[in-house]
C-alpha cells in the first residue's frame, strides 16, 4: 500500500479517537485531554519561534500568562463580558507586548536573547505579583472565572462541549502554523534558523522576519493562555513564571523540535506521563530529566524524529 493510504488510515483513527472516543470517556480523561490540547497550542507557539526560526526564548510564558490574566481581570471584574471582545482585547494586548519586547530582545543574539527574554518575563511576573496587586491579587491569583458564552445555544459549561471547542481551536492553530511553515515566509524563517548570515548576504531583512515570527508566536501562546484561563477557572502568577517557559521548550524538544506533531506529542508525553507517573513516584523531575537526556543524546529529533527516522547528526570526533 502506498504511504498516502497509510496516512489517511492514521488520520481516520486519530479522528475517531479525538472526536468520538474521548468525549465518551470518563470526565477525568476529558479533563486531561483538554489540558493536553491547550498545552500543545502553547508548545506549538514555542515550536514556531524556536523550532522553525531558531530563537530560543525563555519568555513565552509572558504571552500565555498575560492573555490568561487579561481574561481573568476583564471577566471577573465585570469590565467586559462579551467573549469575542475579551478575546480581541487579549490578542491585541499580546501583540503589543510582543512587539515591544521583540523589538528590544531581538537586538541581542542567541544566549543574550534568551536571557533578555527571561529578564522581561521576570519583570512581567513581578508586575502581576506585586505592582498590580490590587487588580491581580498577587500570589492568591484570580479565581471564579466563568466559562465563556459563545452566543450560541451550545453551552461551554458542559465539559464535552468545552472539549470540542478546545479541539477546534487547537486544530485551527496547528493548521495555521502549518500554512505559515509551508509558505515562502516560513521557508525564510527556516533559512534564518539554519544560516542567518547567508540570508543576510542574500539581501533578506532577517530582523523583520524574526520580529514577525516573534509576534505570531506571541499570539498563538496568547490563544493558549485564553483557553487556559476559561478552562482552569483560576489564574495565578506561576502562569508568567520563567519555569513555565522552560517547560514549553522541554515539551517541544521531547516531541520533536521543528516538526509538525512535535508540540502535540511533547504535550501529550509531558502531561500524560506526569499524570500517571506521579501516582507512583514523586520524583517526576528526575524522570523528565532522564528522558530529556536520552532524547538529547540519542533521539535528537524527539519522538517525532524517532518516528520519521530523522538522520542523526554524527558526533564530531574529539578535537
Amino acid at each position: 500500500m502506498t504511504s498516502d493510504k497509510w496516512k489517511w488510515v492514521f488520520y481516520a483513527v486519530l479522528g475517531i479517537v479525538l472526536v468520538i472516543l474521548i468525549p465518551l470517556s470518563p470526565r477525568y480523561v476529558q479533563t486531561l485531554a483538554i489540558s493536553i490540547i491547550i498545552y500543545s497550542i502553547y508548545v506549538c507557539s514555542t515550536n514556531l519561534l524556536t523550532g522553525y526560526t531558531g530563537l530560543v526564548s525563555l519568555g513565552q510564558a509572558i504571552f500565555w500568562g498575560s492573555a490568561a490574566y487579561l481574561v481573568a481581570i476583564l471577566t471577573t471584574h465585570g469590565v467586559v463580558k462579551n467573549f469575542y471582545l475579551v478575546f480581541l482585547i487579549a490578542i491585541l494586548s499580546v501583540m503589543i507586548i510582543g512587539a515591544a519586547f521583540g523589538v528590544l530582545a531581538l537586538r541581542a543574539k542567541r544566549l543574550y536573547f534568551m536571557i533578555l527574554t527571561f529578564a522581561f518575563g521576570h519583570v512581567v511576573w513581578s508586575i502581576a505579583m506585586y505592582a498590580l496587586q490590587p487588580v491581580t491579587y498577587g500570589f492568591n491569583g484570580i479565581r471564579d472565572i466563568l466559562r465563556p458564552d459563545l452566543g450560541l445555544s451550545w453551552s461551554l459549561e458542559n465539559n464535552s462541549n468545552f472539549y470540542y471547542f478546545t479541539l477546534a481551536v487547537g486544530a485551527l492553530c496547528f493548521f495555521i502554523v502549518s500554512l505559515i511553515i509551508h509558505s515562502p515566509f516560513g521557508r525564510i524563517l527556516v533559512g534564518i534558523r539554519d544560516n542567518e548570515h547567508r540570508m543576510i548576504a542574500l539581501g533578506c531583512n532577517t530582523f523583520l522576519y524574526k520580529f514577525l515570527s516573534y509576534i505570531v508566536s506571541a499570539i498563538i501562546a496568547g490563544v493558549g493562555g485564553i483557553l487556559f484561563a476559561y478552562f482552569n477557572g483560576y489564574v495565578n502568577p506561576s502562569e508568567l513564571h520563567w519555569v513555565w517557559s522552560g517547560e514549553a521548550l522541554m515539551m517541544m524538544f521531547i516531541g520533536g523540535i521543528g516538526t509538525f506533531w512535535g508540540p502535540a506529542l511533547g504535550a501529550l508525553v509531558f502531561t500524560g506521563l506526569r499524570y500517571w507517573v506521579s501516582a507512583y513516584t514523586m520524583y517526576w523531575f528526575g524522570v523528565e530529566g532522564t528522558i530529556f537526556v536520552l532524547v538529547v543524546l540519542f533521539f535528537r529529533g524527539g519522538i517525532s524524529g524517532f518516528i520519521t527516522d530523522l538522520p542523526r547528526r554524527k558526533i564530531p570526533s574529539k578535537p
Partner: protein, 413 residues
C-alpha cells in the same frame, strides 16, 4: 513520509488508546466495589516551600488514624495521598485526579491557601466535601462561605487579634513594627494584628515587607527605624523562622530591648527553642497548642506521638492540628455511622460535631465552615531547668474575624 513512519505513528496512537482504555477500566473496577472503604483523598505539600508544615500536620493525622486502626464505625477508612509540591497547578491536578479518577468521598487538603482558594470552587462544582486539615489560613478559603468547604484548623486573624490586644494592654507595647513577606498569607496576619493593636491604643510605626522567597533578611533588619518597642513578624515555613531569629539575634536587637511578639511558629519548642535555647527567654506568642499544657488529652496525644515517632522531634502545633482535624473528621463520620455517601448528612454532622482538643476545651465549626477553638497566649520561660513555653492566658472559643479584617489595603481582594 514513508509508510513506515505512518505505521509508527499508528502504533503510538494505538498504544495511547490502549493505555487510556486500561486506566478507564481499572478505575471503573475500583469504583464498582460496593461500599468498600471510606476514601479520603489528601492533596498536600510533601515537598516544596511549606512542606515542613504539611509534613508535621501529616504526622498528626497519621497518628490518629493509627490510633483508631484505620476504621470508623466498622468501615475501613482509606487515605489516598498525593504530593502537590507546593505548586498550585499541581494541587488542582491532584484534586481533579482524586475526585474524578480515584472517586474519593472526601477531598482533604494540606496547607497552601492559594491552592485551597482555587480548589474550593472546583469541589463545590463537583459536590465533594472539601476539608482543609492543614493550615491554609487565608480568609478567602472560607469566605464567602461555600457549602462544601470546611476548614478544621483556623483562619488568619483568629490568633492575631487577641495577641494584638494583649500586646498593648498586658505587655505595654506602645509602638510596634510589622515584618513579613509580601504575600497574602503573611500580610493578612500582619494586618489583623495591626487592627486590634491600634484599636486597643497602640501604634504601628513601620511595616517592612520583602518578596516571598527572599533569602537574605539582613537588609530588611537594617531598615528598622530605632523608635519602637517590639516586632510582630510572620514568617511562613519553619526553617525560615530560624533564619529570621538568627538574624534578629545577630543584629543584637534583643540586647537593644526590641522585643518579639509573635505567632506560634516562631517560638515552638521543637525547633527555635532547640536551636537558640535561653536566647528565646521572654518572647510571647499566641498559639493553639502548647507542648507543656496540662490536660489528659494532651498527655494522651504526646504519649502516642512519642511512641510512634520517638523524641527526636517534639510534639508541636502543626502535628496537634493534624491530629485534631482527623479526630474531628472521624467523629463526624462516626455520627453518621460511616455512611459517607450521604453527603448532606456528612456535612450536617460536621457542622454539629464538637470535640475536645488536645489543649482547646472544645473545637467546633461556625456557620461559614471555619473552626472555633481556644487560643493561648504563652511565653518562653525557664521552668525546672528547661526552656519552654508556658501558657499565661487562655482566650476561649475564638471565631474567624469578619470578612475584610485580614486584608491589608492595596493588597487586593
Amino acid at each position: 513520509m514513508e509508510k513506515r513512519s505512518w505505521l509508527r505513528f499508528g502504533k503510538i496512537l494505538l498504544l495511547f488508546v490502549l493505555l487510556l482504555t486500561l486506566s478507564v477500566e481499572v478505575s471503573h473496577v475500583l469504583a464498582a466495589e460496593n461500599r468498600g472503604p471510606i476514601k479520603l483523598g489528601i492533596d498536600t505539600e510533601l515537598t516544596g516551600a511549606v512542606s515542613e508544615t504539611s509534613n508535621n500536620v501529616k504526622m498528626g493525622y497519621d497518628l490518629y488514624l493509627q490510633e483508631i486502626g484505620n476504621k470508623v464505625a466498622d468501615r475501613e477508612i482509606k487515605t489516598i495521598e498525593y504530593d502537590n509540591k507546593t505548586d498550585y497547578k499541581i494541587a488542582m491536578e491532584v484534586a481533579q485526579k482524586l475526585v474524578e479518577k480515584d472517586n474519593v468521598h472526601i477531598l482533604g487538603f494540606g496547607t497552601s491557601s492559594g491552592a485551597a482558594i482555587a480548589i474550593r470552587g472546583y469541589a463545590e462544582k463537583m459536590k465533594v466535601p472539601f476539608v482543609v486539615m492543614g493550615l491554609g489560613g487565608a480568609e478567602q478559603v472560607t469566605l464567602p462561605p461555600l457549602k462544601y468547604t470546611i476548614r478544621l484548623t483556623y483562619a488568619d486573624g483568629q490568633g492575631e487579634l487577641p495577641l494584638g490586644r494583649y500586646a498593648y494592654e498586658k505587655l505595654g507595647y506602645k509602638k510596634m513594627v510589622l515584618m513579613g513577606p509580601d504575600y497574602a498569607g503573611s500580610t493578612g496576619k500582619l494586618w489583623a494584628f495591626r487592627q486590634e493593636f491600634e484599636k486597643a491604643g497602640g501604634q504601628i510605626v513601620q511595616t517592612v515587607l520583602w518578596s516571598l522567597g527572599e533569602m537574605d533578611l539582613a537588609p530588611y533588619f537594617a531598615q528598622l527605624k530605632p523608635d519602637f518597642d517590639a516586632i510582630f513578624p510572620f514568617i511562613p515555613g519553619d526553617v525560615s523562622v530560624n533564619r529570621f531569629l538568627s538574624q534578629y539575634f545577630e543584629m543584637q536587637l534583643d540586647k537593644k530591648g526590641k522585643k518579639l511578639c509573635t505567632q506560634w511558629d516562631m517560638t515552638e519548642d521543637y525547633l527555635p527553642i532547640q536551636t537558640f535555647g535561653e536566647k528565646m527567654l521572654g518572647i510571647h506568642s499566641v498559639a493553639l497548642y502548647n507542648l507543656s499544657f496540662d490536660s489528659p488529652e494532651n498527655k494522651h496525644f504526646t504519649d502516642l506521638y512519642y511512641a510512634k515517632y520517638g523524641k527526636k522531634k517534639l510534639a508541636n502545633n502543626q502535628a496537634a492540628l493534624g491530629y485534631e482535624s482527623m479526630k474531628f473528621l472521624c467523629t463526624a463520620l462516626q455520627a453518621i455511622k460511616g455512611n459517607v455517601e450521604d453527603t448532606e448528612a456528612f456535612l450536617k454532622a460536621m457542622h454539629e460535631t464538637k470535640i475536645k482538643g488536645t489543649c482547646s476545651s472544645s473545637i467546633s465549626i461556625d456557620a461559614n465552615g471555619n473552626a472555633i477553638r481556644d487560643f493561648f497566649i504563652r511565653q518562653v520561660q525557664k521552668k525546672d531547668g528547661v526552656v519552654k513555653n508556658v501558657v499565661l492566658q487562655t482566650i476561649p472559643q475564638v471565631r474567624q474575624p469578619p470578612q475584610g479584617y485580614t486584608l491589608m489595603p492595596g493588597k487586593g481582594k
